[in-house]
Amino acid sequence: MALDESRRLQKIKDKLECRARIMDGIRAFFMLESFLEIDTPLRVPAVAPEQFIHPYTSEGWFLSTSPELQMKRLLSAGYERIFQICHCFRRDERGRHHNSEFTMLEWYRKGNDYQKIITDTENLVIFLAEKLGVGSDLIYQGKSIDLRVPWPRISVREAYLDWAGWDPFTAFDGLRFDDDLVDKIIPRFPANRPIIIMDYPRECAALARLKPGTSNTAERAEVFIAGLEIANGYSELTNPVEQEQRFKSEMAEMLKTGKPTVWPDKFIESVKNLPECTGIALGIDRLVMLLTDSAEIDEVIAFPSDLL
């Protein structure tokens, strides 16, 4: 057993070295962009109520599923450009691309919308690829991916109309939306380019603001590279009344299934002072998978949850 482990860890050493260089690169990128690195707690009294993200409980509190609420409280207090690298915990998420404890990079900018945070993401990935000597042509699992910016964009409506044959904005069906994303939409993404899929039905974005002048389109964008979901960004919802309503309806759904929820009162209070801002969460493990040509998340983390 011990021998197996030492062999396994030796085998992924090059990848873990590459991972360390990526971490350095991320910090260098955000220093150049004048961001402040911050560090919020992993154990918290409340997490954002989201129907399909299940937290671990910890002595009546929770292990953080995302640093979003605390980071936004910093923005409400006047911080303008902040980033964080931290572990997040999500119960029952384990697979080739999932480990229930994973590493998130999250950053926020005051005074901008999601277009800007998507541009940041493009620039960050190019910056890292160059730093690692990969250049703008990445080889992943035998396929070449052209990373040159700007990356193609497609709206959720276009993608679903073209590839799944229905419009999720006219009659939203969450189950069908998720199934089709996996079976019909992602497989149609171009294999040789990253892609940004954007403008989601409001039901899919509990913390994003609605596109000005619309009643059902949330300014949410997701970045996919080689079929891997890499990052999820919003123009943040800054209206406290609307934020409260969205969380209440989300919690009502969660109560039906008996999931433990705690009202995040301090966050809701802070939204009153939340300035116009944009933020994005990027899965570092998946980015490392891409940049090290790894098919599975287990190749880029030393101790996946079932090997502890």
Partner: protein, 187 residues
């Protein structure tokens, strides 16, 4: 059981038919539902079924048991086995046995998978020793390893054997491939 608890080799019932989980693929859009894609094997027919479940769903778990048994004899269309610990006799049909029936002789130890007192699968020893009862004479000049002639075994099954094998030889056979492995004795 909750869908989150299903792993490879879990046995579950669908419409009262037992299935074994062969592969589990977990997919989850970050903000969306967890999707579980299972490849199942029907334990009655051996057929494969691909099926998708979502987080929050439940399945009915079932269990199968493994029993060490011995082959006794053939009776009509059934092969009769005896449980080595309870001495109970159980039949398996020719259809269930398939080609495996051709490698059974009296006393062969096997492991039988049972579900609800019903035999559903059988594992033979990896190799068995069987007597050649009928084969043509060696061809002149034939190499010794080539399995270039047919040999009928005591169970009635016919396999390829090297040319030096004669009637009455005892040979070892691989039960998974039906291939001749070696000669272990001769008359």
């Amino acid at each position: 059981m909750n869908i989150e608890e299903v792993t490879k080799n879990t046995k579950m019932l669908i419409d009262n038919v037992p299935f074994s989980v062969e592969t589990v693929e977990f997919v989850k859009p970050g903000k969306g539902r967890a999707i579980y894609k299972f490849r199942l094997r029907n334990l009655f027919s051996g057929n494969v079924l691909d099926i998708t479940f979502h987080s929050g769903e439940k399945v009915e778990e079932t269990s199968v048991t493994m029993h060490e048994m011995q082959y006794l004899f053939q009776e009509n269309d059934n092969y009769i086995f005896m449980d080595s610990s309870t001495f109970e006799q159980i039949p398996m049909t020719k259809a269930q046995m398939g080609e495996k029936g051709g490698f059974l002789k009296e006393g062969t130890p096997v492991v039988i998978m049972m579900w609800n007192d019903r035999p559903i699968d059988i594992q033979l020893p990896k190799t068995v020793e069987l007597k050649v009862v009928e084969t043509s004479a060696a061809l002149k000049g034939a190499t010794i390893t080539a399995q270039n002639k047919e040999g009928k075994l005591e169970t009635g099954v016919i396999i390829g054997v090297p040319s030096f094998i004669k009637d009455g030889d005892l040979i070892r056979v691989d039960t998974r491939t039906g291939n001749y492995l070696e000669r272990v004795g001769n008359k």
